[in-house]
């Protein structure tokens, strides 16, 4: 079956900044994303856990966005600025999708 090559962005970012990360995506033409919760983790700042935590600080969100290669550079430019001082990271993976039009 024919599939189309796209880029899968996976952004793990501290929850208080997740909204801004999404705004960056939208601004750079990524008009679809999905946000997920994470439970706990380990990073440069040591361990963290969201269990029992009430506020957004100290929690990490995962943002998933499948988009086209041509949008990638702009998105990564802005994300690099955003992530310079915030916890988290960004990965880009190659993926295939079934419908080219909707990305």
């Amino acid at each position: 079956m024919e599939t189309f090559a796209k880029k899968r962005l996976e952004i793990i970012v501290e929850t208080p900044v997740a909204k801004q990360a999404c705004a960056v995506l939208e601004h750079r033409g990524v008009r679809a994303y999905t946000v997920m919760q994470t439970l706990r983790g380990l990073g440069e700042e040591g361990p963290w856990s969201g269990e029992g935590v009430v506020g957004a600080a100290g929690q990490m969100a995962l943002i998933l966005a499948v988009t086209t290669e041509n949008r990638l550079d702009g998105v990564l430019d802005d994300l690099r600025v955003l992530m310079r001082r915030h916890f988290g990271y960004v990965t880009v993976t190659d993926c295939e999708v079934m419908r080219s039009d909707r990305f």
Binding site: E14, T15, P16, A23, E26, V54, G55, A57, D78
Partner: protein
């Protein structure tokens, strides 16, 4: 009852014991934990119930001129305490400007659960307080953040300034003040307060089996959770707290409380109201301000401000502070 007897009695209250249980469990690395949505629900319940209680009391007793005075005093305290805290921290702690400003923001702002514990201690002693202290609590959340950001930015390093500048040009740069003021906790607290004012004691009666009767028990469970979080934080991050910073976390609340008491005396609050203004001034935020700092002052280290506020100041206020502030309010104002 003198302040020591009060403190001793306070130490064996179910509230404090639940916090201690959580703290001990976390320090012993037990896997006891409260699921995150449940912790949020407990917090929503407490805000709803305490807001409603304040509003109902205002509906019952009316408001007098001190209301405006108290609100004004709260705003001033919230703006003033960070300045003093910042100067003190810069003088004694060796924290960077940014970290000192972030810590200062927490101490100017308030912790609503400390406030709730204060009302509960007052209730146990049969001391009344002005219902609108809930509104004062809401007012005190935000000014500290503004002042602290000003302190931090007024002397940011060139790189920090440049980074902030560049970040500010990103789309979606949040309108911080709007976000703080429309923060879920504040909206719920103020909203429940307003509902309480509208429905009054008769209307509140209808839902009292939900908002009043189980209140203390829910508070116990929430404090268990706070003990768990505080213990976890201490375990992983107490190493980031130098002795002077620790000292700050233990002493600053008493200075804040003294300012709060003085302001209460000027404004003319009752003993109970004065004690609560002291509690608010002494308490340090651990929900709203940390989140605001991560957005607006990301270079400040959360391991310092969160651990200090939640792991040091909160337990101190809960166990020793609250009874002392109440005793002081009784001594100075009665």
């Amino acid at each position: 009852m003198d302040s020591l007897a009060l403190a001793a009695q306070n130490l064996t209250s179910p509230m404090v014991l639940c916090f201690a249980l959580g703290l001990a469990a976390a320090l012993a690395r037990s896997d006891l934990s409260i699921p995150e949505p449940i912790a949020k629900a407990l917090s929503i319940y407490l805000l709803f119930a305490i807001g409603m209680k304040g509003g109902t009391s205002v509906a019952a007793h009316g408001v007098d001129a001190t209301l405006l005075g108290a609100i004004f005093a709260g705003a001033v305290l919230s703006a003033l305490i960070p300045v003093i805290a910042f100067i003190a921290l810069r003088a004694i702690s060796g924290l960077s400007r940014v970290d000192a400003a972030a810590v200062a923001a927490h101490y100017g702002s308030i912790s609503i659960v400390t406030f709730v514990a204060g009302t509960s201690a007052l209730g146990g002693l049969g001391i009344d307080f002005e219902g609108y202290m809930v509104a004062v609590a809401a007012v005190m959340e935000a000014p500290a953040i503004l002042v602290a950001l000003y302190l931090a930015r007024s002397a940011a390093s060139p790189e920090d300034a440049a980074a902030a500048e560049e970040e500010a040009h990103l789309p979606g740069e949040p309108n911080l003040m709007r976000e703080v003021l429309l923060n879920g906790s504040i909206v719920l607290l103020v909203g429940a307060f307003a509902i309480g004012v509208i429905i009054g004691p008769a209307g509140a009666e209808e839902i009292a089996p939900f908002t009043v009767d189980p209140f203390k028990g829910v508070l116990c469970l929430f404090l268990l959770d706070m003990g768990l979080i505080a213990g976890r934080g201490l375990r992983s991050s107490v190493k980031y707290l130098s002795p002077p910073v620790l000292l700050f976390g233990l002493v600053a609340p008493f200075c804040g409380a003294a300012l709060g008491l003085a302001a209460a005396a000027i404004v003319g609050l009752s003993v109970g109201g004065a004690a609560l203004l002291a509690v608010l001034s002494a308490s340090a935020s651990y929900i709203a301000v940390p989140a605001a700092m991560r957005v607006a002052l990301p270079q400040a280290q959360p391991a310092i401000y969160l651990t200090l506020s939640l792991g040091v100041t909160f337990p101190m206020n809960l166990t020793l502070g609250i009874p002392v502030y109440i005793a002081a309010a009784q001594a100075f104002l009665a």
